[in-house]
Amino acid sequence: MQFGVFTVGDVTPDPTTGRTPTEAERIKAMVAIALKAEEVGLDVFATGEHHNPPFVPSSPTTMLGYIAARTERLILSTATTLITTNDPVKIAEDYAMLQHLADGRVDLIMGRGNTGPVYPWFGKDIRDGIDLAIENYALLRKLWREDVVDWEGKHRTPLQSFTSTPRPLDDVPPFVWHGSIRSPQIAEQAAYYGDGFFANHIFWPKEHFQRLITFYRERYEHHGHGAAHQAIVGLGGQVFMRRNSQDAVREFRPYFDNAPVYGHGPSLEEFTEQTPLTVGSPQEVIDKTLTFREHFGDYQRQLFLMDHAGLPLKTVLEQLDLLGEIVPTLRREFAVGRPADVPAAPTHASLLKAAVGGVNSR
């Protein structure tokens, strides 16, 4: 099972000091967090993609390419890549390029983006969101899998005799996950292609995502990629830890109370009860995280949100040290009773092996 961190890349004032980091500080902090993730033994770093303040990561492959050069093992991913407003041709090229630079340590989580004005800024319409996600991704797959592409669709100019360069590393396209908060169409899309499904699983009660993931698993089996329990599931999560549970609550509360997404609403206590958020001791985080398997079945990837709401870099790096301490326990416990036929998350190496072995890895 893979463990890692994902970041939104928000520039948020620290509510305890009132200080707002500069864009440069925030960007460098994201890099520091990625490097730390590898140092403490995590498997994945995923960056958000946004094209509006207060977010900085508009150019994921620039950032991930830089991180690739400074890491050895870390898988570089996105959370999420905007499959709606990006040109699928540019996604095909950018991420194939990144694959070569990172020796295959690349995958993507596709998302639609929920900020209305971003669509028109990129010449699109949010009302076409699902349609764009379906059409653009179908084209992206074709560009990665066919050397010469003729294509026509509704949402971009046609292509005749187009070759996306560079070709994917070893002719193995990056593995793709699809993220969605509420659209069964996206779970259906992931299931149809045998791709992974990633549930953000941060801001909503587990019951909400249980419905989507159960549906994805059923449709994965329906489309013939394996049994439902073999579908490729990733989950988000959000934690704040201190050795002593009360210290964690005391320190995190001002960040929670002022957080851009859920601040000024429910109390920290209500929100931790209703959602996967865990604020407490490392043991409490272990206990809560292990319940995810009971709710969603054996899964492949667990990403944690560690660095939002104005938390200073120093604190985030301390959090990553603690996460690094508990991940071996999580790996061990998640392995207990895991059926042998539940696959690991696909990697470049596993996909290459499957391709060479003649196994259909679509």
Partner: protein, 192 residues
């Protein structure tokens, strides 16, 4: 079994909004046999509603309330008049309902206010709101000013509105669950 959800946004206790909602419900009950009435006092979930606006999801308690309303065969909705319109709490509750969840549902609208001068709140605020939600609003809405509680006329209006709602309920198919949006992939790929 036919179910009727009574949603009222009164803030006081006792409250004239509560009083009107109860009278409307009892009048419908007299006309529809075997009617199960579920009463929702929005004040009881006021903070849950505000939290839902902020977080995007309902608490367990609010989810139960929402399900009892959108799952009912008909709805009576009564609000006090604040600044020439429905109350903010009332509108906030409507705002946390899923789109389409009241489409086609028979609704009886009611409002209360200090004076008769606000009675057009029914036709200028509530009726357009429920028209937008594509609910089926009965022709008679019931407005009760403070003075109506000591005057003739209110019971007749209550009975007329209740009769209209009861007519819509009789012989009606049970409330259907909200469409979950599933589309098979070949249709998605074909652009539907």
């Amino acid at each position: 079994m036919t179910t009727l959800a009574v949603v009222q946004a009164g803030l006081g206790s006792p409250s004239s909004t509560q009083l009107l909602a109860t009278r409307l419900a009892e009048a419908v009950q007299r006309l529809v046999p075997d009617l199960e009435v579920r009463t929702v006092h929005l004040r009881d979930v006021a903070r849950d509603i505000a939290d839902n606006l902020v977080t995007g999801f309902p608490s367990a308690r609010l989810r139960e309330v929402v399900e009892s309303v959108v799952g009912a065969d008909a709805v009576i909705a009564v609000t006090p008049t604040f600044n020439a319109s429905y109350s903010g709490l009332f509108k906030s509750f409507v705002d946390v309902l899923e789109p389409e969840s009241l489409a086609g549902k028979p609704v009886l609208i009611g409002a209360t206010g200090g004076t008769e001068r606000h009675s057009l709140v029914l036709d200028h605020a509530l009726r357009p709101l429920f028209a937008y939600l594509r609910a089926v609003v009965v022709p008679t809405g019931v407005y009760a000013a403070s003075s109506d509680w000591g005057a003739e006329g209110l019971p007749g209006r209550v009975d007329r509105a209740a009769g209209e709602l009861a007519d819509l309920l009789v012989g009606r198919a049970p409330a259907k669950p909200v469409d979950d949006g599933f589309v098979p992939f070949d249709q998605l790929l074909a652009g539907r």
